[in-house]
């Protein structure tokens, strides 16, 4: 292992000789994060507003239903569009085409029950892994909570009136309760792009997005030293020294891993401490594991690229292409869940997609570590596959 460490140390020493170049690889993404984060201020811009279409099977189109649907569409920070449809069509969207995250069924008798504060049940069907489905569920729960509170206030007022022998007009009381609800500080906030009440911050999307993109651009750091080893003869020199191929590759990979890990960590740390990105004790372990596996997968991808492409003229465009396309379809520029489903499917061939959906789930949708385990495992598998292929194709000597 001391030979591996010798390779790592030399790489890092070389990097330390180019502090400006290294600083620039960190500064550029940070500048972009800050710049774009302020341009794409999601809370005030339609471009950043979460847009969700909700197929709705309306089996009772009375005034109560109209009121309820208007409430749903009026939730702050989320652009929710009700698409009235039949049950088959709704199922087709959610279960077959997967272009909608959830559908809602409004049962017969809902309108009357809603207006009279009587018990009724709404059915919402979503796919388990859909982010927009989760948002829809959360919105419905929050609107239901609000409605329930209004109803309780009305009932309390009615009981109070009855006890004191005063006359009571339920419609007026409900209207009054609604007014109170509207002016009171809501107990459960629905903020932009978050249905759980936590404050959504555009840096929760942009910081991991650009970190993921630049970690792939950053692969050039070690990839180019491998190309230089090839072209300048140092690889040949090392190959005739007692430095086995595995030690050379492991050393280079470890150096790149360290660089990538710090690159992503620094970007996320800046997003956290300067821009209040949602990284906290609850999601720290998940984010840490995402950063580790992302760095590993990216590093292995770099090793694969440098195994297949032999010169800097070939490998640099390859890295740029992978970084840009992966970022575009993988959720670095635009939230992944806003993309058409076919792009979401295609994007799974890129690291960015697995990383971004994991970061989104942890930072935006407040999901647990268990929820993003598939992403972590996918990044591990991605890295291992790239590494296996790199090991197959990497040429160290002809012996």
């Amino acid at each position: 292992m001391y030979k591996v460490w010798a390779v790592v140390k030399r790489e890092l020493l070389e990097l330390a000789k180019r502090p400006i170049a290294f600083a620039w690889t960190l500064a550029l993404p940070l500048i972009m994060i800050v710049f774009l984060g302020n341009i794409l201020n999601f809370s005030g811009s339609s471009s950043g507003k979460l847009e969700i279409k909700l197929p709705t099977v309306v089996q009772d189109d009375g005034p109560g239903t109209q009121q309820f649907l208007a409430q749903l569409e009026g939730v702050n920070g989320v652009s929710l569009t009700i698409e009235k449809t039949n049950l088959d069509d709704a199922k087709d969207h959610v279960q077959t085409k997967s272009d909608r995250g959830a559908y809602l069924v409004i049962p017969p008798g809902f309108s009357q029950a809603y207006l009279n504060h009587q018990s009724t049940t709404l059915q919402v069907v979503s796919t388990g892994d859909s982010s927009s489905g989760q948002v829809v569920r959360q919105i419905l729960e929050s609107v239901a909570d609000r409605y329930n509170t209004t109803a309780m206030l009305t009932t309390a007022a009615q009981q109070q009136a009855q006890q004191s022998g005063q006359s009571f007009d339920q419609a007026t009381a409900a209207q009054r309760a609604q007014q109170i609800m509207n002016t009171a500080q809501p107990l459960l906030k629905i903020d932009a792009q978050s249905a759980t009440g936590a404050t959504f911050n555009q840096f929760d999307q942009i910081a991991p997005g650009y970190a993921t993109m630049f970690v792939i651009f950053g692969l050039q750091t070690v990839v180019l030293t491998i190309i230089a080893d090839r072209t300048k003869g140092t690889m040949r020199r090392l190959a005739v020294m007692p430095l086995p191929r595995w030690a050379y590759m492991t050393g280079k990979m470890t150096a790149q891993f360290i660089i990538s890990f710090f690159q992503v960590s620094i970007m996320l740390a800046v997003a956290k401490f300067f821009f209040k990105a949602n990284i906290n004790a609850d999601n720290f372990l998940g984010i840490f594991l995402m950063v580790v596996t992302l760095s590993f997968a990216a590093t292995a991808l770099g090793m694969l690229l440098v195994s297949v492409f032999k010169s800097d003229k070939a490998v640099q465009p390859a890295i740029t292409l992978v970084a840009l396309i992966g970022s575009m379809v993988g959720g670095a520029f635009f939230p992944l869940w806003l993309m058409p489903s076919w792009i979401q499917n295609v994007s799974k061939v890129f690291i960015n997609s697995w990383a971004m959906s994991g970061f989104n789930d942890l930072m935006i949708f407040k999901q647990s570590l268990a929820h993003v385990l598939p992403n972590i495992l996918a990044l591990m598998a991605y890295g291992l596959i790239c590494l296996a292929l790199a090991t197959r194709f990497f040429r160290y000597s002809d012996a």
Partner: protein, 271 residues
């Protein structure tokens, strides 16, 4: 220059023929790429305390031969042993006793001279104290000790060449292969490298030296082989080669190695 190396510089050449056993033996060495034969049935021996010159025009197969002797290339046929070890079956052991000075400046220009030497020393697993002493000895020998903390990219061409040589000797190898180590350098640096090489011979090391400069081979080499189109055409001491050429009445008597080389390999360009 260190004491060990400087004391030996001016010593006369060891008379090699029949004196010591061959440290390096290559028999029937062949290298093919597809149907193209790059090295064809090469037999050679390099003895301890000998500088063996391997000459040839561009594309003659010199670097490929060195590649096979140094474990870098797998021969298509034939066998090479170094100090009794099969170069390809015992490659890991062989790598510890050989040193290669490649034609390219195979050093890290962003790193300092000292970082380069330390790195190569670490690859050989040299303990820190031994590595430190060896680096000091070598860098003093090549005149870079005082500038060891400078980045290599700030060095002149001659300094880089000298570092390239020193890096190839870090492990104190028994057999050193030098592939045109003096290309494009100033006379002082060239002389320094010559001194190093002659010092190695005096220490009983075996040196395989390739060069395009005939006067270098005349000055340095105990025995010389001329290679062309993948084959060894002749080998022996300079005197033997010239005497052999004289006996051939159909050719003009060569006045030196350069003329002999042209007679044997022709005057056509090989680039």
């Amino acid at each position: 220059m260190s004491d060990t190396l400087s004391q030996t510089v001016q010593q006369p050449r060891i008379a090699t023929t029949g004196v010591s056993e061959a440290l390096v033996q290559a028999h029937g060495l062949i290298k093919k790429y597809g149907s193209k034969i790059v090295v064809n049935e090469v037999n050679l021996e390099v003895r301890a305390g000998e500088i063996f010159g391997l000459l040839g025009p561009n594309g003659a197969g010199k670097s490929t031969t060195i590649g096979m002797l140094s474990t870098y290339l797998q021969p298509t046929g034939g066998k090479v042993t170094i100090n009794g070890l099969d170069v390809h079956k015992d490659a890991a052991k062989v790598k510890k006793i050989i040193g290669v000075v490649p034609q390219e400046l195979a050093i890290y220009e962003e790193n300092t001279c000292l970082e380069n030497m330390n790195f190569f020393g670490e690859i050989y697993g040299m303990p820190a104290d031994r590595r430190k002493a060896r680096i000091e000895e070598l860098l003093k020998a090549v005149g870079l000790w005082d500038r060891r903390k400078e980045q290599v990219k700030k060095y002149s061409g001659g300094m880089k060449r000298r570092l390239n040589v020193a890096a190839g000797l870090i492990n104190d190898p028994l057999f050193i292969m030098m592939d045109e180590p003096t290309v494009g350098i100033d006379p002082q640096s060239r002389q320094n490298i010559f001194d190093m090489i002659m010092g190695l011979r005096s220490q009983g090391k075996a040196v395989l030296y390739t060069t395009q400069y005939m006067e270098e081979a005349e000055q340095l080499c105990d025995r010389i082989a001329i290679m062309d189109n993948g084959k060894l055409i002749v080998q022996g001491t300079l005197e033997e080669l010239l005497a052999r050429a004289e006996q051939k009445i159909e050719v003009e008597k060569p006045r030196g190695l350069s003329q002999l080389f042209l007679q044997l390999t022709g005057r056509e360009f090989r680039d």
